[in-house]
């Protein structure tokens, strides 16, 4: 649906246990699709078996060469094939923003794009922004300001916020930009509007806004 409806936002019922089970099933399916690599796809208009294809792109400055089911989203390629589980699967339909990564420096929903559509692209995930020893300023600000509660939306929030500040610097207007012909400036209204594609079910918005504002002030 893309634009969130209240009834479809993932709820707290999605327990860590369920999540781990889903992850295991996902990994098993990955193995299954590899098995089918030897078989020819069924000819005809509606192939019934998984179709495998090769794709290579850079993730966090490392080349990744994958053989994936054509149906594999970029999100599933990152999590299930490359085991970069920092990027989260929330709604899986473009509403929540938990899967936000950078492609060529631009923020995108990795759940709504296929891995095969990213041949040659440069992908950056939360793992590529910083490490526990060398945090990205946005990561450090989220820790300092307590910009989360459960933490599930946090990688998406941070990737989105980093790219959002770049979008303001690049002069990209938003819905709340008063004058279209002059460069937009960072302020609370701009931040809230531009971050509306990232939901936080814990409601940690005040602290998220504080963290982003701190980084924006520093980089301004």
């Amino acid at each position: 649906m893309n634009e969130p409806s209240d009834s479809e936002i993932p709820s707290g019922e999605f327990s860590r246990r369920k999540f781990l089970l889903t992850g295991a099933a996902g990994a098993a399916m990955t193995g299954l699709s590899r098995l089918n690599a030897q078989e020819q796809p069924t000819p005809g208009p509606h192939p019934m078996k998984p179709i495998l294809t090769r794709v290579s792109f850079t993730v966090n400055e490392k080349m990744a060469e994958l053989e994936v089911d054509t149906r594999t989203t970029l999100l599933d390629a990152l999590r299930e094939h490359l085991h970069l589980t920092g990027t989260k699967k929330g709604c899986d339909q473009g509403q929540c923003g938990a899967c936000t990564v950078l492609s060529g420096g631009r923020r995108i929903n990795s759940c709504l794009t296929l891995a095969v559509m990213h041949q040659g692209d440069k992908i950056t995930t939360i793992e590529g922004l910083g490490t526990p020893d060398r945090l990205h300023p946005m990561q450090r600000a989220f820790v300092k300001c307590d910009g989360f509660q459960c933490g599930y939306c946090t990688p998406g929030q941070i990737c989105s916020a980093v790219a959002m500040l770049d979008e303001i610097k690049a002069g990209i207007p938003s819905h709340v930009t008063q004058d279209l012909t002059s460069a937009p400036a960072f302020n609370a209204a701009e931040m809230r509007e531009r971050m509306s594609g990232n939901l936080c079910r814990c409601g940690a918005y005040c602290n998220i806004a504080e963290a982003i504002t701190e980084v924006a002030g520093r980089s301004a």
Binding site: P4, T70, R71, Q93, G94, T113, Q119
Partner: protein, 317 residues
């Protein structure tokens, strides 16, 4: 998701020809709507043609003083283009009123035009929907119809077209440029691009099978104050209940189109002529053919009030 074969097209003509060779194939560009629908198996293409490599991502000035917007120009880049912000502000405003930052970075000009309705009954595969499953009925008629269309509807479908961008383009008299599988190129005014549902709500545009949008053309700028007001249930990241795109000249003349009220951007030439006479007169012409349900009848009043707000803002600008 159903399995599908995949290819990367290398030329617009090649992409269109490939679509004809693979019945049921879909072009994919941003994928933000198509992938969503494929996950729900509302769209089940056996073959995907990735058009992202077609180099249709430039915005060029045309000989007649207008712009040629490549089909693959991302919504973010179109909204941010200096010429669009300066001369076609209503388009920039409409674009940034839609979706989220992430989605606008992915979504393309052509894909935005071709996105499907967000009617909840279209999305719910357990419900009857003539658009998703022709002949199955329409659960929206007699159902929860608060968000549904009040203009251009039929007894088979009351879905709206969800695009904001298309409403901005309609008020600018945009023209769609395409290439067909036989290699011929044609242009279609946006005014004639969308079909009304009639008896066949599954047919949404006049595009032929395999026909590929290559660009959207804007005529030379018309000046005036450019406004886009969108009324929705949240302040951001929600589809329109109704929206108003308007270009208002100093003398009070102008043009107007509505979003969120019909299966296509809604524009009535006679309504444009009423612009100097105020919101009530304009609304009367725009809404003359309205068919409402008890739940969405509020949209008529909302259109008039939003028009009044837009005209007042234009006067103050």
């Amino acid at each position: 998701m159903k399995p599908f074969t995949y290819e990367r097209a290398t030329s617009p003509a090649g992409a269109a020809a490939a679509a004809l060779r693979h019945p049921g194939a879909r072009f994919v560009a941003g994928g933000t709507n198509l992938l969503d629908l494929m996950k729900l198996e509302i769209e089940t293409p056996p073959h995907l043609i990735d058009v992202n490599g077609l180099k249709l991502d430039a915005i060029e000035s045309t000989d007649d003083g207008g712009l040629r917007i490549g089909a693959l120009v991302r919504n973010t880049d179109l909204a941010a283009d200096e010429r669009v912000r300066r001369d076609y502000g209503v388009l920039s405003r409409a674009l940034v009123a839609g979706a989220s930052g992430q989605l606008r970075n992915m979504a393309t000009t052509a894909g935005n035009l071709l996105q499907r309705t967000r009617c909840p009954y279209f999305y719910d595969t357990n419900q009857a929907c003539n658009k998703r499953s022709p002949g199955s009925g329409c659960a929206a008629i007699g159902g929860f119809s608060r968000v549904h269309a009040v203009l251009g509807v039929s007894d088979t479908c009351i879905a709206t077209h969800p695009s904001d961008m298309a409403v901005g383009l309609r008020v600018l008299d945009a023209v769609v440029e395409t290439i067909r599988p036989d290699g011929t190129v044609r242009t279609i005014p946006l005014a004639e691009f969308y079909r009304l549902p009639g008896k066949e709500p599954q047919l949404e545009t006049v595009l032929d099978p395999g026909e590929l949008i290559t660009a959207v053309l804007l005529p030379k700028p018309v000046g005036g104050v450019h406004l886009y007001q969108k009324v929705r249930d949240r302040a951001s990241y929600a589809f329109a209940l109704i929206s108003v795109a308007a270009i208002v000249q100093k003398d009070g003349t102008g043009r107007v189109a509505l979003g969120g009220v019909a299966p296509k951007p809604w524009r009535v030439e006679e309504a444009d002529a009423e612009m100097p006479n105020g919101a009530r007169a304009v609304a009367a012409k725009l809404l003359a053919q309205a068919t409402t349900t008890p739940e969405n009848a509020f949209k008529l009043k909302l259109v008039e009030r939003t028009l009044a707000s837009v005209l007042a803002e234009a006067k103050g600008a």
